[in-house]
Symmetry: C3
Subunit: 270 residues, 3 copies
């Protein structure tokens, strides 16, 4: 498949309602992979922005009452228009308010992909009314030993929500109701840069817009692209500052040949 | 002229009400060229901040009800104090709300410079009551072929608003009611970094404060400085991450000798 | 002492209510030194976030009515829980609103450390009801000549507030009611990067959590770490862009051997 080529040709316009911590990196990562980002979170503005966009990414990192209202309204508008919608439930589980917001988002918006680390995804599964009966995995992270458990959890969550579930960690698990991919890309040092998860959500959205025929593969390509960019940057980075900048460089130079060559993925029926 | 030297000597204190996507770059670009940035957008705080500043830059990128109120009140205060005021109508035309905000800003604040890409500037011309009778150009961007059309549009808009009009693109057009400069500085890759336009607005403001005798030239110097910094960084950048950082490096090392040597400008009577 | 080792082992979770200009650097600096940052400023969310954190940093840079409410409520919660609380009174003195906010924060929250440049610290001393009788220093910055005057001011302010006072400048002064350190680390070029002060506050918070036995030394270690990182980066930086990135690299590579070797500190009884 030509995941990256398709992104660069279609240049998806992605509307982000995202946290102010990593927003600059999110925008630059979206541009680097060939998309076009636009950020707005005002209720009078955000839903209308969907009219000219191809996708919406909702990230709950620095949510507030006003932006939550815009997340829901924009999500509904995106659903009406059939746009790609990605949820990054950043910080889910950390506070009662975050859980309440996640519940509302899950109730009112349909997502094409839900991406988070395992504790965020478990918190989401625990609070959403859609996910009654989904047993949150006991796993604290996906390992070779507990993969079946994580697959079962992701599969049930995907069934309940209709979304591709991307659980990021040392091993990333990307699953729908039938199949899963694991990816081993990325490097330990990436955890010491803020925003790699937020950037991944944007790259996933771009990939879903440009590669609509197989959502599971499109999400997996997005997750791999980010991880691989970090790995490549790691080779010459002198610390987390240059790793951060190198990651953007590598995303901007990413192509399908590099992606295919560098992808450490495995496919499972689940 | 000693545009950059004057900025570094006067160190203009610039108040920004700007979007949270590129705000860090905007601050670092203002510092790099020799200015001093301060950001605040709370209505109880922002207008008073003008008392200690030399200029105001208003950018509508991630506007909201609260910050729009601050933009207008701070703009009026800046006008009362005779400070330089620059408008970057980021995203003008994208939604009805943005157009309404642009209309209000144009009605209530007088700008020394309005800077945007051609679609933003056309949207602004279409919504402002001040610009009745200004025929928005048909051009989608300024080219060698349609320059006269773009000049005519910019000239009328400058007459109607009293502002220097800076239309950025592959060719930048900077015009007042009598004269225009075109600049060919910059590189294609800069479009894949968010914030180059936002940074330009800040550098323009610094240049206008430090070089008040000829506003058209002062704005042109600011536009050229940004473009040239990108060109110089392009020579060694390995991707959009290092281009972004190199651009700030080059701005911090910019001087009038480099500016004069590197400027690809042409002057027109219009 | 093993200041940095302790931070990397304990990985303090630090809640920041901070300005949106430098927030990305603040998060990356906290990660680079071995801490873990989380940002939230919504009143329904922020106080609860203290339940899972070790520290709170309040920075008034881009304050607004909503975030000020969260600063006070989160500060009180942090105090109840016995967490480290650091105040960075960014922009104190610039407007009446900032002074009013600083007064409220000083009235309602107890701080372990207050860090700012001398004009911010003087403004804080002037507005706080706790600091009646503290004579603000006449000094515009700490120099070898006026050190005694600055020490006296910092000592009185520390007595009145119970906080370690960190006054940053060409010479940094860190003082409690009995002792002071001066540090000569850092380089002139760091003033041309936004956010070095904001990052310092986060590194101080991490150091205070991990090194609770001697607060004065813990704060000093944080101030030195930032300055030294800048110095080391200065050796190879090509401008303020690469200085900025190099500073994060150097923080991520910092250890106690480098810190001890590079620290230019002097201790005084005051």
């Amino acid at each position: 498949m030509e995941y990256i080529k398709n992104i660069r040709e279609k240049c998806p316009l992605i509307h982000f309602i995202t946290n102010y911590v990593t927003v600059n990196d999110v925008a630059n990562a979206a541009l680097a992979i060939g998309g076009s980002p636009i950020m707005t979170d005002e209720i009078l503005d955000a839903p209308d922005m969907q009219n000219i966009c191809n996708a919406l990414v909702i990230n709950t990192g620095t949510l507030n009452k006003n932006t939550v209202e815009s997340m829901i309204a924009s999500g509904k508008r995106a659903n009406e228009l059939g746009h790609v919608v990605v949820l990054d439930p950043c910080g889910a589980g950390a506070t009662p308010y975050r859980n309440e917001v996640i519940r509302k988002l899950m109730d009112e918006v349909k997502f094409d992909c839900i991406k988070g680390n395992i504790s965020e995804i478990k918190a989401l599964a625990n609070v959403s009314s859609k996910t009654n009966g989904v047993d949150a995995s006991d796993a604290d992270q996906a390992t070779r030993e507990n993969l079946k458990d994580v697959f079962k959890f992701a599969k049930e969550l995907s069934k309940a929500t209709g979304a591709v579930i991307a659980i990021t960690g040392v091993i990333d698990v990307i699953a729908d109701s039938k199949n899963a991919y694991t990816t081993d890309n990325g490097c330990r040092e990436m955890r010491a840069i803020t925003g790699t998860g937020c950037m991944t959500a944007g790259v996933i959205a771009a990939s879903l817009v440009a590669n609509p025929s197989d959502k599971l593969k499109a999400v997996t390509a997005g997750v791999v692209a980010l991880g691989l960019a970090g790995e490549l940057a790691k080779e010459y980075a002198k610390g987390t500052g240059t790793l951060h900048i190198g990651l953007i460089d590598e995303l901007s130079n990413m192509d399908d040949i590099k992606l295919e060559k560098g992808a450490k993925i495995e496919r499972f029926e689940i």
